[in-house]
Point group: C2
Chain length 233, copies 2
């Protein structure tokens, strides 16, 4: 490799640098669109995924669509029956239980990792959202409360600083997005107070950077959330 070549590299290296993370957009667009289309419930649970209709819907040929379907099947959003096409995967109560537990485990991990590396600024942001959530709780504003709640859990996962964890978590979250469990809490006011107390404990453990403890609290918190969802299902 000549020195001159190294000079030119300086100019061009920026391109692969900025293109390094965003793998770029190929038929990614289609994949995202299709995923949203399914997640948003445009297709009934367990319903056949009509190839031809979707081709017209997205103005593409069958080849890229089928490729996208294979990916969605790998993600667990749909299932592919040989020679029988794709079906929207319907989650059994058992599936949902499993997903809750795994997400609980991942959040527990996120909490532990966050304690190791979270900055004061990141903690301050979580703390701020927490207090905001508390105000929503006092006002009995369910919508605002859940918005903050989601944000906090998301911030903890982000604070873990582990892209693999975040991606894995997002993948599982996408699977159960079709199941609406958020509003279930509405039926159980006691649970709401309990959840709020758990969140106090979460913030406290995070403040003390007590990773192992926070890990425990988060898992139990998710377990309780799961129980509440099941009870009101």
């Amino acid at each position: 490799m000549s020195e001159l070549f190294l000079d030119t590299i300086d100019e061009q290296s920026r391109v692969p640098a900025e293109a390094a993370k965003p793998v770029a957009s190929l038929h990614e667009g289609l994949l995202v669109a299709l995923r949203d289309f399914i997640v948003e419930g445009n297709l009934a649970d367990g319903a056949r995924v009509p190839e031809r209709a979707l081709c017209e819907r997205f103005n593409i040929s069958r080849t890229p669509l089928r490729e996208a379907l294979k990916v969605l099947a790998a993600e667990g959003l749909i299932e592919l029956l040989p020679n029988r096409g794709a079906r929207v995967r319907q989650l059994s109560p058992e599936d949902i239980r499993e997903l809750f537990d795994v997400m609980g485990g991942l959040e527990a991990l996120a909490g532990r990792l966050a304690c190791e590396r979270i900055s004061e600024a990141e903690f301050a942001e979580i703390e701020q959202v927490h207090h905001e959530m508390y105000r929503f709780y006092l006002r009995r504003d369910m919508h605002g409360y859940f918005h903050c709640n989601q944000a906090i859990h998301q911030l903890i996962v982000a604070a873990a600083g582990n892209a693999t964890l975040a991606a894995t978590y997002a993948g599982l979250a996408g699977r159960i997005r079709r199941v609406r469990y958020s509003a279930n809490l509405a039926k159980d006011r006691d649970r709401w107070g309990e959840a709020m107390r758990e969140h106090e404990a979460i913030l406290d453990a995070l403040r003390r950077r007590a990773g192992s403890e926070l890990s425990d609290i988060l898992f139990v918190h998710l377990r309780n959330k799961q129980k509440a969802a099941q009870a009101s299902a």
Copy 2:
């Protein structure tokens, strides 16, 4: 359907019966073959994945191959560069660190769940493999030790009774399989003794069904394994 046909069905009905759970094999075969082909290191790290060559290698057309490639990309084994084909994803030290942590988190979860539902028979099996491993340790039989070690971690994940967890864990394990970290322990005899003591603690916590405690031990155990692998890398 004639009675005669029913007679023959008796013979054949076993096939769909046992194929009920395994969604069946379509181009799954190709997917598995391709995955193994890459995992087993037939392609260099970061190397281009030659479509044409693989088509000949597996005697298929480009369409099913490209579908399989999309799935492998979703699994994180390869990466797809737009208009520039697929490349074997090479894991940075950071990627490996992340993978170790997530797998540690999942094993911690597996331990916790296992404590909730493991049967005496399952525990007995783990205990037996543990003792077998200890004998390998005393004999300084590295190969046998690692075999048992892998088996124990696998049995704990299985004992968790969570298919989603098992699948997620397997997916991450597949990504890292290309990186050989097993033999790294060989360079650090002290670590070996430490690992053995940690396994004693694991078995003890599992015996007492101390989920939270086992969860902690398993995560730290994986962390130490990671550190040892890094140090000898």
